[in-house]
């Protein structure tokens, strides 16, 4: 087995070897692929379930935080603190009548929300939750993620086009132009980080960083610091979040590209959007904020074995849980920032949107890319803190 997926993590345990031997004997062929399939399917189900919950809780968090910012109560009737509100919303959406207008292009109309879902779910395969808990550490990881995420743009445009309604058409057009435009600064910022890490797979990207903030790529050099903000702003625009929610601008376009959608099809759009925010925040964490790395090498569990004398497999599992906690907590902090930004800033105009993307973010992103390349060449890949520390160590007591 190659050492890069959740299956290879499980295959270290004794149980896996036992079951594998027993299955191979009972079935009469090598059961590695079968077991890999079963483990992948179970883990994928768990991740999808967790993500659907996060998407649902995202809508709850959105309403609760917006209520907090506007000195209201927010949902507080269904369940404790209104926590089960998203389940009630889901049930309501499933029970709503499904309306397809007579003029709409029916096949494309039904395809659009499904495309959004497929695009977002496919990106979940490479999100690095911890060093062992990653579904597929593809060697083209981040490239694959960028490609799959752009399927959402196709879904948004098709949804607007197929509805055959003027509001939807305007929203879909704006959505398509906005999503493809902001893909450029986001991708170029990602390339700058790929340059620093020297690889495309998510494990390489996270592995080149450390657990403590000064080892993160965010503080590697000033250009990477700027690249983070460029990526984050572009990520907000790609997920159609305010202040870039022009495709669904409710005060001018009714509801934009999903004006004609009702019931669960609208629900699928919303679910895809909230999961995509999580993915964008997760990628920002993995690329810039140290990802799943925890300080002092706690993740590998080596320290626990040494100091406390724990079983190696147990301490490895504890390390994985710590890494998962580090990744998820950092991502949720960014998630909060995304919601906070939405309820703080007013919406941009279309011309301001395009000006921001093409005249500010894209040139800045290109500048960052050149800056990172020159920094890597000039300082041999050392981060600014490494340089400061070594200068302080060599010049100690010199002044």
């Amino acid at each position: 087995m190659n050492n890069s997926t959740v299956v290879s993590y499980f295959s270290q345990s004794n149980e896996f070897i036992h079951v594998h031997a027993w299955l191979s004997k009972a079935l009469g062929f090598d059961a590695t692929s079968l077991m890999a399939f079963v483990i992948f399917a179970v883990i994928a189900l768990i991740i999808v379930g967790a993500m659907a919950t996060i998407g649902g809780l995202g809508t709850y968090a959105e309403r609760k935080i917006s209520a907090d910012l506007q000195a209201r109560m927010g949902p507080n009737r269904v369940g404790p603190f209104g926590l089960l509100q998203f389940l009630a919303d889901g049930v309501k959406m499933i029970m709503k009548e499904d309306i397809i207008t007579t003029n709409a292009d029916k096949f494309t109309f039904n395809l659009a929300p499904v495309l959004c879902m497929v695009g977002v779910f496919a990106t979940l395969a490479v999100v690095p939750y911890s060093s062992g808990f990653i579904l597929a550490d593809l060697n083209v990881g981040i490239f694959y993620l960028v490609g799959m995420a752009s399927l959402v743009g196709v879904g948004v445009f098709l949804g607007g086009y197929a509805s055959n309604s003027k509001w939807s058409m305007l929203g879909g057009m704006r959505g398509a132009s906005q999503i493809i435009s902001y893909e450029i600064p986001a991708t170029i910022s990602i390339i700058a980080i790929v340059l620093l890490a020297g690889g495309l797979s998510m494990k390489t990207l996270v592995g080149a960083q450390g657990g403590l903030p000064h080892e993160w790529f965010l503080f590697h050099n000033p250009f990477a610091f700027m690249a983070f903000f460029v990526y984050f702003i572009a990520g907000l625009a790609e997920t159609n979040r305010a202040p870039f929610d022009l495709p669904e601008a409710e005060s001018e376009l009714v509801s934009g590209y999903h004006t004609e959608y009702s019931g669960m099809k609208f629900g699928l759009f919303a679910l895809a959007e909230y999961i995509e925010i999580f993915v964008v925040c997760g990628v920002a964490v993995a690329l810039f904020l140290g990802g799943y790395k925890v300080p002092f090498d706690l993740g590998s569990g080596a320290m626990l074995v040494e100091k406390l004398g724990l079983d190696s497999m147990l301490s490895q599992n504890i390390g994985q849980l710590l890494e998962l906690g580090a990744f998820v907590s950092k991502t949720l902090v960014l998630y909060y920032v995304v919601i906070w930004v939405r309820w703080t800033l007013p919406r941009l105009r279309v011309d301001q949107l395009m000006t921001l993307c093409w005249k500010y973010l894209t040139p800045i992103a290109l500048f960052n890319l050149i800056g990172c390349a020159v920094w890597m060449y000039a300082f041999n890949g050392k981060s600014i803190f490494t340089l400061i520390f070594s200068a302080a160590a060599s010049g100690h007591g010199g002044h």
Binding site: T102, N164, G267
Partner: protein
């Protein structure tokens, strides 16, 4: 070796299947319990109470086309940047960083030249400036 590659991409296929399953399943579940009583008014496109006139599939503003063109150029070039960026660190360690840096600089300067050209031509302006056209506006019905 080929089975190993399949194994790595297996979760991608599983996740896409799950996405289809979640979408299809929730829609199917809904079709069992949701009401279905369409009428003519309900099935027209929503235009704030007005009766919709004509289709929405009309000619659209050319600016979107220009943006799409610029996007394609930048997207292809950024796709070409990925492999160079991925090997930059390794090349830098064995002392070939300068060569690669020069190629990156050349490539990015071509990109920059492209964006400067578009900027200069005014393709990046969403609202076109009317200063030039006002001087040549025909003066209908105006006697001078």
């Amino acid at each position: 070796m080929s089975t190993l590659h399949l194994d790595v991409y297996m979760p991608v296929v599983i996740l896409i299947a799950l996405a289809l399953l979640v979408a299809g399943g929730s829609l199917f579940l809904g079709s069992l319990i949701r009401p279905h009583n369409p009428n003519k008014l309900k099935e027209t496109a929503y235009e704030c109470g007005e009766e919709p006139v004509g289709t929405a599939w009309t000619n659209f503003n050319i600016r979107f086309y220009v943006i799409a063109l610029i996007f394609i150029i930048f997207d292809v070039e950024s796709a070409l940047m990925f492999p160079v960026a991925a090997v930059f660190k390794k090349f830098n360690e064995i002392g070939l960083g300068g060569t690669l840096l020069m190629s990156i600089l050349t490539f990015v300067s071509v990109l920059l030249a492209g964006i400067v050209y578009c900027w200069k031509k005014g393709d990046l302006d969403w609202v076109k400036s009317y200063t030039q056209s006002t001087s040549t506006t025909p003066t209908y019905g105006k006697k001078d």
